[in-house]
């Protein structure tokens, strides 16, 4: 059914919180996502012409970089972009086949690739570019929030998080229940002023982005030039001057 489920009161809203302050743009999340998911629930994630010019492929996560602002306020921000598991995802409601669905129990948006006809209307309906066509299979693919990891009882409990979260070396990605105001991720969002992307579209994304912190005042003033050590000054007169003036 591509009609959206009515969320039960207190139902989980699983999602990601991405810290744009600490993301270093290393693409490890995107790489580990591809690695895990190509043999996962919605795999494979094929590549076209992988060993020649114009190689491209299906990725669930893509890391952009932006410059924001000018002068002292200007920042370079690394920006991972993936499915936001919206509360009102039009990618689901436009689906003519029922292949796209949103899970009532945790809000994850998935595609049943056995039913998908590859009409690509869901990709048109997603403002965020979260859905891509698998040109080998002729069906749509998207982030599963690693549904095959987070509930996987065959792997150690501490590893039951999405592949992108587990691999992030800067700890810029957090996973949890954003429907529970007392969860760690919800507290993090409240503390740091986490926001949603393109709220004007009305899709109510679940994922949140934490804004880059303000540049500290220390960074703004130019660093002081270090002087030579007394032992590095050969001229005795200058060494004496340096000693007097350094007092």
């Amino acid at each position: 059914m591509t009609s959206l489920p009515t969320p039960a009161p207190g139902a989980k809203k699983l999602g990601l919180v991405i810290d744009l302050d600490t993301c270093v743009g290393c693409h490890a999340c995107a790489t580990n996502c591809k690695e895990w998911n190509t043999s996962g629930h919605m795999g494979p994630l094929p590549d076209q012409h992988p060993y020649s010019a114009a190689q491209e492929g299906v990725w669930f996560n893509r890391v952009h970089a932006y410059e924001a602002g000018d002068g002292d306020e200007g920042r370079t921000v690394h920006f991972p972009r993936s499915c936001l598991h919206c509360e009102t995802p039009a990618c689901v409601t436009v689906c003519p086949t029922g292949a796209s669905y949103k899970r009532a129990e945790d809000g994850i948006v998935l595609v049943n690739t056995d039913m998908c006809i590859g009409c690509q209307l869901c990709a048109w309906a997603c403002p965020y570019g979260a859905r891509e066509l698998d040109e080998d299979q002729g069906v749509m693919k998207k982030c599963t929030l690693c549904v095959d990891r987070i509930y996987n009882e065959t792997i150690p409990e501490e590893r039951r998080v999405p592949a992108c979260v587990s691999t992030c070396p800067a700890n810029a990605r957090h996973f949890g229940d954003l429907g529970d105001p007392n969860s760690d991720v919800s507290k993090l969002v409240a503390e740091r002023g986490g926001y949603e992307l393109m709220p004007e579209m009305g899709y109510q994304p679940v994922n949140r982005y934490l804004p880059p912190r303000k540049a500290s005042s220390q960074v703004k003033s130019a660093p002081k030039e270090a002087g030579p050590l007394p032992s590095q000054i050969n001229n005795p007169l200058l060494r004496w001057m340096d000693k007097v003036l350094s007092r």
């Binding site: 409601t93 003519p96 086949t97 209307l121 891509e132």
Partner: protein, 311 residues
């Protein structure tokens, strides 16, 4: 958005087919068209052939065409599914209408014709709503998009009907309808373009990244050095350079010339009217192909905000 030839052809061909079915279904039972049974059957067969050809073409756009039947299941939420259901259901009265026309069964013509007309209008409205319901594309998420699909389909259908009626010597009334709809379509399309051109997109790079609180946002590095599906499908930019010329061509070929030719056909009559009818219908379909290509090529998708604007 990428103008996929299969979809451009589908919407123009099926639109014209449904338009022809609509006017045939309304005007034939009212006795405003040639009484000849061969005329009625020919017109209905051409309408159904155009519809079927368009629908087959739309299957070419699918990654898994053999699963197309599944698209009939989600009519509760999906306009694409509703379009599919409406298209299939419309075939039932349309085929009965065709049989009634071929046998001159006037008692059956009225109900079957009217039901076919309703089915045709509903199907084209669903097609329009597929596009009009997509918020990320500001040129489509516009109140004039679905009415536009209805107007252009009814115009091209009337043009075909006027041409066919001309062959059987009864083209006056359909030519009048086609000329009037052509003029209406001309002004409607101009008003639509004026409106979309004047409406800024509600989403910006700043809202797409949420970094507007720092200042203007400029893409620095792409996630990938080569192209990808998103860029090819939703950041198609070829048409923008020639958009102004193509718009003039669409207005001239699609609406202005056919309206003029039908007016001349009404005034001149005779053999010249038949030739003018053929010219007008051909021009209308060619112009609509350009118009439909532009509908896609000029449409901008919010996903392009994440990527650098090519220079």
């Amino acid at each position: 958005m990428k103008p996929a030839p299969s979809i451009v052809f589908f919407t123009v061909a099926s639109g014209a087919g449904y338009g022809l079915l609509f006017w045939l279904g309304v005007l034939k039972p009212l006795g405003l068209l040639p009484a000849n049974t061969l005329f009625g059957a020919t017109a209905a067969i051409i309408a159904l052939a155009l519809i079927a050809a368009g629908l087959c073409s739309s299957l070419l756009h699918l990654g898994r065409p053999e699963r197309a039947w599944r698209a009939l299941s989600q009519w509760r939420s999906s306009w694409l599914s509703r379009e599919g259901v409406a298209a299939v259901l419309t075939f039932l009265p349309a085929i009965i209408f065709l049989i009634a026309l071929a046998h001159g069964e006037t008692s059956l013509m009225l109900p079957a014709g009217l039901l076919s007309a309703v089915g045709a209008a509903v199907t084209v409205y669903c097609t329009g709503m597929i596009y009009a319901s997509l918020k990320p594309v500001k040129e489509w998420h516009h109140p004039m998009v679905a009415p536009g699909y209805l107007l252009f389909a009814s115009f091209s259908g009337a043009a075909l009907l006027a041409m066919l009626s001309g062959f059987w010597g009864g083209g006056f009334f359909p030519a009048l309808v086609a000329a009037a709809l052509g003029m209406a379509a001309l002004f409607f399309k101009r008003a639509y373009w004026a409106s979309v051109d004047a409406t800024p997109a509600i989403s910006t790079r700043e809202s797409a990244t949420g970094l507007g609180f720092i200042g203007t946002v400029r893409p620095l590095e792409s996630p990938h050095t080569e192209s990808n599906y998103l860029l090819r499908e939703m950041a198609f930019r070829v048409a923008r350079v020639h958009a102004a010329k193509l718009r003039s061509i669409a207005l001239l070929l699609g609406f202005a010339l056919p309206a003029l030719f039908f007016c001349l056909a009404i005034i001149l009559g005779g053999g010249l009217a038949i030739a003018l009818g053929v010219l007008a219908a051909a021009s209308a379909l060619a112009g609509l192909l350009v118009e439909r290509w532009l509908i896609f090529a000029e449409a901008t998708h919010t996903v392009a905000l994440y990527y650098p604007t090519p220079r």
